[in-house]
């Protein structure tokens, strides 16, 4: 008994020390999310480090999309969703009552499962976020658009046809356009909700490469059902099942020596 108590005390202390070392951007604390009467996320707590890629994996229906959508409060727009717990963004709980959702979403950008460009020109798509944020000077807008398209590795392909409809782009290009659109408002965190699930392998590889480059500037969270993808691009990995966080650790540890049997079963493809 005594030893155990000592042990846990030691652990807590250790954790605290680590926290100071690590630069934690987002801290999810005892998060519970209900859809009507079903609990989709159960008591999840995890920390997301700055300038790292954190992947959330798990079988479909495990609540990973719900979890990531909680980080920029996109679940708010779905009727009947209830959230309990805290998500700290730079130490402030974004679910506090006096928090402005719009500011949160400007700080935490999101790229969706299916590319969803507006039926406007390429230019207008990227400019949209700038315009609603009050950027009016044309020169500044043009510069920011060029920069974000470059960051999204799309500039060379579209620089001569910025006026064309975004819907004329290929699927992969559309998804990169959506990334550029999200980057244009200069968020601090970018959430990717299965960004490659509708893309072919070549387009997927480009997006993965891009995500690797983006972590220099941004903190990235990505949901994926593709374990190879998580292994390739993430620094940390959270394994979710039936709404519960089974395991959260460094990616190489999860994929080489997971501490739980279920994680191992999932990763080795025994179910899911």
């Amino acid at each position: 008994m005594v030893i155990e108590i000592q042990n846990s005390k030691f652990k807590i202390k250790n954790e605290k020390e680590e926290k100071i070392e690590k630069d934690i951007r987002i801290s999810i604390r005892d998060l519970n999310i209900w859809y009507a009467n079903t609990r989709a996320v159960k008591d999840v707590s995890l920390d997301i480090e700055k300038n790292k890629v954190t992947a959330i994996i798990g079988p479909s229906g495990c609540g990973k999309s719900t979890l990531i959508r909680a980080v920029n409060r996109m679940n708010d727009i779905i009727p009947g969703v209830k959230v309990k717990g805290e998500i700290l963004l730079d130490g402030e709980n974004i679910y506090d009552e006096d928090v402005d959702v719009v500011t949160i979403r400007r700080m935490v950008g999101m790229v969706f499962q299916r590319s969803n460009p507006f039926p406007k020109s390429i230019f207008e798509n990227v400019a949209y976020g700038l315009k609603i944020n009050g950027f009016l000077r044309k020169k500044e807008i043009a510069e920011r658009i060029e920069q974000s398209l470059k960051d999204a590795a799309l500039w060379d392909e579209v620089k001569d046809r910025l006026g064309d409809s975004a819907l004329d782009l290929s699927g992969g290009q559309q998804q990169r356009l959506c990334i550029a659109r999200a980057l244009a408002v200069e968020p601090e965190v970018v959430l990717f909700d299965e960004p490659c699930s509708a893309l072919d392998p070549v387009a997927t590889a480009r997006i993965e490469e891009l995500i690797q480059e983006l972590k220099e500037k941004y903190t990235i969270v990505i949901v994926t059902h593709n374990m190879q993808q998580a292994a390739r691009i993430s620094d940390f990995c959270a394994f979710l099942m039936l709404g519960e966080l089974i395991e959260f650790d460094k990616t190489d540890k999860i994929f080489t020596t997971p501490s739980k049997k279920v994680t191992e079963d999932y990763i080795t493809g025994r179910f899911g």
């Binding site: 963004l89 730079d90 402030e92 974004i94 506090d96 006096d98 928090v99 402005d100 719009v102 500011t103 949160i104 400007r106 700080m107 601090e188």
Partner: protein, 300 residues
């Protein structure tokens, strides 16, 4: 680090203001509906100071300009019901059969032509139906049945029937085509052919929607004004046969409101008729609504 994330009062206030504004606009439908109810009560109820409920509803004579006047709406009420019943006898079989044909039998190409055509039929203004009734249908009816006048309950019923068909057909068609495929497949799997499946499975499954359609068609027929005003003949007597001129509640209001003095007994009596008419159509609508809800639940 980070931007301040709290309390953007100005923005929140603006957003709330916009939301409230739209909410206000959406309330106008109710305001108008309530306005109609209030106006009808306010202008209609005073007639009951002059005449009792019983005499109003069951009085057999409508002589509003006699001295003393008679304000019995029984002939008008029966006139409306008579013509509506006649219209339904024509519209229900034709309308429902067309709906079944469109959704179960017709080739997609034919369907793509018939559906808009029937939508157009709904778009023809009622005064044009009335006009057509006067110049074409009435003489035919008169000649065919050897009657003294062609403007009678039968002519009105025929025209109202045609007018109610689009309502009945389009709503029935929606109901029939939303019958789950699995129902039909189950029937085919048991060896039934298409006709047997249609009659024994598809149509009974859509019965709720079809009844809604019939009720709404009935509402359309009861509320129709110009056509009956022009072709029903206009005699305010209790109808005994279809070959007799009749007068409906709607036609009475339309024909007499222009000639009354505002605030007179006759004026109030016409509003009271409108109140009866409104109550009738309102209950039909609510009935249709309840049926639709029930139907939806059962399909699930």
């Amino acid at each position: 680090m980070g931007k301040p994330i709290r309390c953007f009062m100005k923005r929140t206030r603006k957003e709330n203001l916009i939301r409230r504004l739209f909410c206000l606009f959406s309330l106008f439908s109710i305001v108008f509906l309530l306005g109609i109810v209030i106006v009808l009560f306010k202008e209609g109820l005073p007639i009951f100071k002059v005449i009792s409920f019983g005499k109003f509803f069951f009085g057999k004579f409508w002589y509003p300009v006699y001295e003393p006047p008679d304000f019995g709406i029984l002939p008008l009420l029966l006139g409306s019901l008579w013509v509506t019943a006649g219209a339904l006898i024509i519209a229900v079989p034709l309308g429902v059969a067309s709906a079944v044909y469109i959704s179960e039998v017709a080739h997609p190409k034919i369907k793509g032509f018939i559906k808009p055509a029937i939508e157009l039929l709904a778009g023809v203004p009622s005064v044009v139906y009335g006009f057509f009734g006067m110049v074409v249908v009435a003489p035919l009816v008169q000649e065919f049945f050897g009657l003294p006048v062609g403007l009678n309950a039968l002519t009105a019923a025929i025209l109202l029937g045609v007018m109610a068909i689009p309502t009945i057909t389009s709503i029935s068609e929606d109901a029939i085509s939303s019958v789950p495929k699995s129902f039909k497949e189950a029937s085919y799997a048991l060896g039934a052919n298409r006709w047997e499946t249609t009659v024994k499975v598809t149509v009974p499954s859509a019965a709720g929607g079809i009844s809604t359609a019939i009720i709404l068609g009935m509402g359309r027929a009861i509320g129709e004004t110009m056509t009956v005003l022009m072709v029903a003949g206009g005699a305010a007597v209790i109808p005994r046969s279809f070959f007799q001129p009749v007068r409906t509640m709607t036609a009475t209001i339309a024909a007499e409101m222009g000639e009354t003095v505002v605030g007179s007994e006759h004026f109030h009596a016409l509003f009271a008729i409108a109140l009866v008419l409104f109550a009738l159509t309102l209950s039909l609508n609510i009935g249709a609504d309840v049926l639709t809800q029930k139907f939806r639940k059962r399909l699930r």
